[in-house]
């Protein structure tokens, strides 16, 4: 797998048309848990300069994503493949001098993208395992059997039926089963 071909750097370099700006996007974000403080970001760049992923990626720049959101480039932000590169290490969150909770803002972008079906396949695989077994990975039978010979107690039982019941109200199954959106495809 290689890094996504379509990058926000390219997205950013395309001319901005007034018609694609959503001036209300930032206010929408202010009301969502995690991105309440997005307007406090004054683009100092601490997040990007301290981001370990940004150091090795040609395209992932948290500051740029926040700037694009402040400008109202909603579609470009939510369809950006690089949203999914954040490793959630929370360095940006701990170091932001404005207390913006940058990693939480990125998480809000991801959630909004996921609502439209734009998210990498790996999450669909984990979700299907969760709904089948309660575990995020399909634990191989061999591993389960091996536990006994390793002197380990049996694994606690997952209760996927109860998981489904508790997640009904947030429409998790619907979100996961949504057809793949335009971008955020795996390379």
């Amino acid at each position: 797998m290689t890094e996504a071909a379509s990058t926000p750097t390219q997205n950013r370099e395309q001319p901005v048309k007034a018609s694609e700006l959503d001036p209300k996007f930032k206010y929408e974000l202010q009301k969502i848990h995690g991105s309440e403080k997005i307007l406090k970001c004054f683009q100092c760049g601490t997040c990007t300069s301290d981001c370990p992923v940004a150091r090795f990626s040609d395209s992932y720049r948290p500051r740029t994503l926040i700037h694009m959101a402040q400008l109202g480039l909603k579609d470009r932000v939510l369809k950006s493949d690089t949203l999914w590169l954040c490793a959630a290490c929370f360095t940006c969150t701990d170091r932001c001098p404005q207390d913006v909770e940058v990693a939480a803002v990125i998480r809000v972008f991801r959630n909004l993208a996921a609502e439209k079906g734009c998210f990498p396949q790996v999450f669909r695989d984990q979700a299907s395992s969760l709904l089948e077994s309660g575990y995020a990975y399909k634990i191989p039978e061999l591993r389960i059997k091996k536990r006994e010979s390793q002197g380990l107690p049996p694994l606690p039982k997952g209760n996927p039926e109860n998981v489904k019941k508790t997640l009904k109200g947030v429409k998790f199954m619907e979100r996961i089963q949504k057809p793949q959106g335009e971008t955020a495809s795996e390379q």
């Binding site: 360095t91 996921a114 997952g158 998790f172 979100r175």
Partner: protein, 297 residues
């Protein structure tokens, strides 16, 4: 303080990191920590935070509510699980509106979050409940001729607001616990940086570059092993070290040990008991060194 904990394994450890579980159970047994198995379990929620925050909240709260029924605090081996359970516990205890909202979902499965237990990661338990003095006293074979490096990983340190038992910029707990075994813990560049594991599957290129960067810094200070306390960090280094060596034309040969494996050796346990055979990077040179140290007068 009660020494009885509900052990929360998470998904990654039973999936492919059993050496961590085996060694942790052995070491905790010797230190007098009693472990009770979870009666029922589901993923802590962390992997689904990216897709749906509410899903993460509900999955975590469901586990907390199950633990509350038993009246036991949770012990996790995975910092991802610890971070998630701690965060959700703190939010729901403080915020009545969110608690009521989440409880409406839990009710569908006959559960309720009340907020009367705590979650600790192995590292925090060893520091706060067992204590470094007791750990030192349990060492019968000090690893005095070993020089190792530590990798805390992110979720045991950040965000500080929710984890808060160590300094994310200059963490000391793991170092202190390593030195309790008699080994020396070396400093190196960018010690608190991410291993790259969460980017696997989205961009392997970025993930492997991050891990390579850290391995290079660890090699620079001539560490004989890297000590981890996270199943994901361990997979990132141990499973991928050979791949990274080939990809970047480097040689590291650094064994990646789970902290309880290191402590177990110092407690006099044998490598077989501590599941050293499960490690991908060969640790036999390191074990020879340990034995030579023990034979010294």
């Amino acid at each position: 303080m009660s020494n009885k904990y509900l052990i929360f394994l998470g998904c990654a450890i039973p999936y492919r990191v059993s050496a961590y579980e085996i060694s942790a159970r052995k070491v905790l047994g010797k230190l007098g920590v009693e472990l009770v198995e979870m009666p029922e379990f589901n993923c802590c929620g962390l992997p689904f935070n990216a897709v749906s925050y509410e899903t993460m909240m509900i999955l975590a709260a469901k586990n907390l509510a199950l633990a509350e029924q038993l009246g036991l605090n949770i012990l996790t081996l995975c910092p991802g699980c610890a971070g998630t359970l701690k965060k959700v516990n703190k939010i729901l205890k403080a915020d009545k509106a969110q608690r009521e909202e989440i409880n409406a979902h839990l009710k569908e499965a006959g559960l309720e979050f009340k907020g009367n237990i705590e979650t600790k990661h192995l590292l925090q338990l060893l520091k706060e409940d067992v204590g470094v003095e007791k750990i030192k006293a349990s060492v019968i074979k000090p690893l005095t001729n070993l020089k190792v490096a530590e990798h805390n990983g992110c979720h045991i340190l950040r965000p500080k607001e929710y984890i808060g038992f160590d300094d994310p910029e200059d963490p000391q707990t793991l170092k202190m616990l390593i030195e309790a075994t008699g080994a020396t813990c070396l400093d190196y560049i960018d010690e608190t940086e991410c291993c790259g594991a969460p980017s696997v599957g989205v961009s392997d290129k970025v993930a492997l570059a991050l891990a390579k960067d850290k391995l290079s810094h660890i090699k620079q200070v001539e560490a004989q092993a890297l000590i981890t306390i996270c199943p994901f960090c361990h997979i990132m280094y141990d499973t991928n070290e050979l791949r990274i060596e080939k990809l970047f034309n480097e040689t590291y040969g650094i064994p990646i040990l789970h902290y309880p494996q290191l402590l177990g050796l110092a407690m006099g346990m044998c490598p077989e008991e501590l599941a050293f055979s499960e490690l991908r990077v060969n640790a036999s040179n390191l074990l020879k060194q340990v034995n030579q140290g023990a034979n010294k007068p």
